[in-house]
């Protein structure tokens, strides 16, 4: 894909094309009696310039249609219109975001690890010892509201195929989920379906789910966010590309048959805001079959191992339209396809529908003629249907026939790479000044020991900070046998090969921070994911991102987007971690109200020896607890303000990328020396939450002394901080590492006992904490 930031699997659905002449449900005429409508051939298009085409209904505006007309030198056929309407949709062309996304390339830090950057199905980085890793995060937001189970399931399926397409064996998934208010009537439906869908698909595919997020906020009520990440492992020399080189090479469609699901998805559901009619679109959400995807995965890996393809592309948004145009555009430039050969599960499909179908579990490969027989043999072994549809040409044209007549004849690069680009107007949202002026500083703070204790308990049992086992226990984290760490640890850690090397992955995002200051909010999301990876002892090396925003046609939203991209690009440059790919999801809004802008950032780190990974749990009595980093009174957008007052105002914590890099260097160095018994980052909910999570996870209490303002010490969300537990003999060594890196460090207490105690303030038995922390989500959703 040529877009600077990669495409999600489909987000959409739409009414059938009027000219396709499908029978109206409940209509008068029996299907059998219906005469086939005339085929809109290229010749007919040239002869009938005045035929009206429903381009507006397909999401194309007058200017875009005019441009298409001038590219072709005639009106498009209905099949060509189908192709361009999806390829030029916001979802596939990034027409509103492209001018901003180029900042990631302009500001990209030097990286020797980057093997494949933005623009392919997923980025690839070298992780050493002859191994490479490919990873990407992608949204499937809109379908997951309409049909939560299938929306989430096919979101997992789509990102897994992106990773597979790079030539890698998928080795883990993560999911970053955002739902409406936990007590809102519809949240239970959406959460239950999404979690079952993520689990139902990923579990059946044999991919361990190693982390992610579950966040609640009223702004996501009718716009849940389902962002799925997949990571795969391969040898650098085995990277595959989405290209169709070599005239005469065969184009093979393999995987599931093509049906009427998700037709037009890309251009409508993802590119139009929801209204009351959205439920009527339900049948158009795609339906996943993880069993077929598992067969397709194993089949592809055997095909790759025998080096049978010269190019490969998965079919996601825009299906055959997207795969053919992109493969051709990136290859020799031409392709001939016979659409009659596409295996259908509904024989009544018209060519426009075949082109737009988003049926899942399909791939398209380009294979040298001499290797076709073996390719088909391996597909048969795995019971994967495979069909030669056509071949690569040097004509520079994508030509398609249907029932013997030419219905598509276009230059593929114009559909794949030369879509419209918009510089949409932007300006800060009108209410931003008022919001930022409404600081959290004026909120009444707890001060007595009882008030502090109650606040600790209140936050520990609040939905965003509560234990997420209710969700994560529905996911298989053990399969493949290489999971070294998984949620609730700070990052998921996967062993590569037989070890000792491995990778760590974390995703983070904070819509409240980003609402208050999108530039800082994006940087804070990156900071937290970067910190989480380093907390396990891994060296952060690369970034993926999923940018979830409202309508780009709203100048306020566009400003949030531009600011967030700028902030993220600057932060990636400062931290030396390049963006390798990702996805933009616009139109996450209900009526005029957009979601809080929510960039979700994934960071990949490398472990030279996974046996040195550091866990978050307090495991051993008597360990010294050190707090690394500086705590400032920062409460704008904090969980404390959110939970206790439902307050959102002021400014978020100040990003400090220099401090973040320094902290990470200490954590990585100490992990390598093997002196950390535990490490846990300080973020949402502050130090209180960090300590109680480490206590509950390990089953041991702690006693700490906080000489400053205990409220600020416990609940501030200042960045660049972590707690570590070390044998007292090693405390001086950690302090020395901190001093060398200019990281403030304080010895605040000791691991032990069966309570979370703050000297002079309170002591809360772990059994009491566990009850509120672990009981919250089951009481809402079980």
């Amino acid at each position: 894909m040529s877009a600077p930031n990669e495409e999600p699997q489909t987000e959409a659905a739409q009414p059938p094309m009027p000219q396709a002449g499908r029978p109206v449900p409940g209509g008068q005429q029996p299907v059998a009696a219906r005469p086939d409508p005339p085929v809109d051939t290229v010749a007919r298009a040239a002869e009938t310039p005045d035929v009206k085409l429903p381009y507006a209904e397909l999401g194309m505006n007058d200017d875009e249609f005019g441009r298409l007309h001038s590219i072709l030198g005639r009106r498009p056929t209905s099949a060509e219109l189908a192709i361009y309407s999806v390829m030029w949709s916001e979802h596939c062309s990034y027409k509103s975001s492209r001018v901003h996304l180029k900042k990631f390339a302009e500001k990209a830090p030097q990286s020797t690890a980057l093997l494949v950057g933005m623009g392919e199905n997923a980025g690839v980085v070298d992780v050493g010892n002859g191994w490479a890793v490919t990873f990407k995060i992608e949204s499937h937001n809109h379908p997951s509201y309409v049909e939560p189970y299938q929306g989430a399931a096919t979101g997992v399926g789509g990102i897994v195929r992106d990773i597979l397409t790079m030539g890698a064996r998928p080795v883990a998934v993560m999911d970053s989920l955002r739902f409406g208010a936990p007590d809102a009537p519809d949240t239970r439906r959406v959460l239950d379906g999404v979690v079952r869908g993520v689990g139902g698909y990923g579990n059946c595919l044999g991919l361990p789910n190693i982390g992610g997020e579950v966040v609640f906020d009223p702004c996501y009520g009718a716009n849940p966010l389902v962002n799925a990440l997949c990571v795969g492992v391969l040898k650098p020399e085995d990277i595959k590309r989405a290209i169709a080189p070599g005239p005469g090479n065969k184009v093979i469609l393999f995987g599931a048959t093509t049906g009427p699901d998700g037709i037009g998805g890309a251009s409508v559901l993802a590119s139009a805001t929801f209204d009351e009619a959205s439920h009527q679109k339900r049948p158009s959400v795609q339906v996943g079959d993880p069993f077929m995807e598992k067969l397709l995965t194993e089949c592809c890996l055997e095909i790759f191992a025998e080096d049978l393809v010269v190019g490969i592309q998965d079919l996601g948004a825009a299906g055959v339209s997207c795969a053919t145009t992109e493969l051709a555009a990136a290859g020799t430039g031409g392709m001939d396809i016979d659409l009659d050969l596409v295996p259908l599960r509904d024989e009544t499909l018209r060519p426009e529908e075949i082109l737009m179908s988003e049926s899942q579990e399909r791939m398209m490969a380009v294979v040298e003629p001499a290797k076709v027989a073996r390719f088909l043999e391996l597909c048969a072994r795995w019971d994967v249907p495979a069909t030669v549809l056509g071949e690569v040409t040097d004509t520079g044209r994508l030509r398609m026939t249907w029932r013997g007549q030419t219905i598509v004849d276009l230059p593929p690069v114009t559909a794949a790479d030369e879509g419209p680009v918009y510089e949409r107007p932007y300006e800060p949202p009108a209410d931003l000044g008022r919001l930022q002026a409404d600081a959290a500083d004026g909120l009444p703070r707890p001060s007595t020991p009882d008030e502090l204790r109650n606040t600790v308990m209140w936050l520990a049992g609040s939905p965003n900070l509560a234990d997420k086992s209710f969700v994560t226990s529905q996911y298989d984290k053990y399969v493949q046998g290489n999971t070294v760490l998984a949620m609730p640890d700070d990052a998921g850690v996967i062993r590569i090969g037989d070890g000792p090397q491995g990778i760590a992955l974390a995703t983070d995002g904070n819509g409240r921070y980003t609402r208050l200051d999108p530039y800082a909010g994006a940087q804070l999301a990156l900071s937290e994911a970067y910190r989480n990876v380093a907390t396990t002892g891994a060296r952060p090396i690369a970034v993926t991102n999923c940018l979830n925003f409202g309508s780009p046609e709203d100048p306020g939203v566009m400003w949030q987007f531009a600011q967030a991209v700028e902030g993220l690009a600057d932060a990636c440059q400062a931290l030396g971690v390049p963006v390798t790919g990702g996805n933009v999801s616009f139109y996450n809004q209900t009526g005029d109200v957009p979601i809080n802008p929510t960039p979700v950032i994934g960071v990949l780190g490398v472990h030279d020896d996974v046996a040195r990974r550091v866990q978050m749990s307090f495991n051993v009595e008597g360990m010294a607890i050190l707090l690394l980093g500086e705590t400032r009174p920062e409460f704008g957008g904090s969980e404390w303000a959110n939970v206790v007052f439902r307050h959102l105002g002021g400014l978020p914590p100040r990003p400090d990328l220099t401090a973040e890099a320094a902290l990470a260097s200490v954590l990585v160095a100490a992990a390598r020396e093997g002196i950390l018994d535990a490490a846990h980052d300080v973020s949402d909910g502050g130090l209180s939450q960090t300590l109680l999570e480490s206590c509950l996870r390990g089953g041991l209490g702690c006693t700490v002394s906080l000489p400053g303002d205990p409220f600020v010490e416990l609940f501030s969300e200042s960045v660049a901080r972590a707690v570590v537990a070390v044998h007292p003999d090693y405390a001086a060594r950690v302090a020395a590492l901190c001093e060398a890196a200019s990281v403030p460090v304080r010895h605040i207490g000791t691991v032990g006992g069966d309570a979370f105690a703050v000297e002079g303030q309170f002591s809360i038995p772990l059994v009491e904490l566990r009850e509120v922390h672990q009981g919250a989500l089951p009481s809402l959703f079980a």
Binding site: G206, P290, F291, K294, W382, Y478, G481
Partner: protein, 225 residues
């Protein structure tokens, strides 16, 4: 010469490579078997791994039992070949009538993945002889159709003849009758187990390495012969 332990891959098997790893860590030689094979390849034992064979369509294990290799396996099992069915493999063994009873949807209707404590109730089967009777181990469990059921008479027979191989301790994760986690056939060579010992063979990646005993038991059995 070490034991050759076959691991059958069905379409949709997921834990086949994990089972092979466990076999290797136990000191035996894993042998990949394909569902469409018609020959067990002179293996000394067979593992039916976890996963969703044939997508678990129709009913978990219901289609896999008709795989060409299953006929051969059933004959060999009746002749005494040690067979361990893990999770989906257990479901296949029940569908094949090599073991009695059935596995149905978990009582809470959710997929459940957790580190589970088990008690080894019978340490004399081909797959448990390196454990002590009554020994407690922690291994992962992960399934949505793990609720073991059988009629009263079958349960009574399993209990009275010591054919309950392992039982859930502390928490019954899926509603299985009598907290049953695993059972054996009368001869003790065929064992079905809902939890996953192959995911508890290394401390780094599992909740323990206490699952390894199922795989070393085969070697111990061979040494004893």
């Amino acid at each position: 010469m070490t034991a050759r332990v076959g691991v059958i891959t069905f379409p949709g098997s997921l834990d086949d490579r994990d089972a092979a790893r466990a076999v290797r860590l136990a000191g035996a030689e894993p042998v990949s078997l394909w569902h469409a094979d018609t020959d067990l390849g002179s293996v000394d034992a067979v593992v039916l791994p976890g996963g969703f064979s044939y997508g678990d369509y129709l009913r978990a294990g219901a289609i896999a039992r008709f795989a060409p290799l299953m006929d051969k396996l059933a004959d060999a099992a009746r002749d005494g070949l040690p067979v361990l069915g893990i999770c989906n493999g257990f479901q296949v063994l029940c569908e094949s009538h090599l073991l009695p009873g059935a596995l149905t949807r978990n009582a809470n209707l959710h997929f459940v993945c957790r580190a589970q404590r088990l008690r080894i109730e019978n340490a004399e089967t081909e797959w448990t002889r390196t454990y002590e009777e009554g020994q407690e181990i922690v291994v992962p469990i992960k399934n949505i159709d793990g609720c073991y059921i059988a009629d009263e008479a079958t349960l009574e027979e399993l209990e009275s003849s010591g054919r309950v191989v392992a039982r859930y301790v502390d928490v019954n994760p899926n509603g299985s009758l009598n907290d049953i986690a695993g059972i054996s056939n009368e001869a003790g060579n065929v064992v079905g187990l809902m939890p996953h010992p192959e995911h508890a063979v290394e401390a780094l990646t599992g909740p323990s390495s206490e699952g390894l005993g199922f795989f070393t038991s085969i070697l111990a059995g061979m040494a004893a012969v």
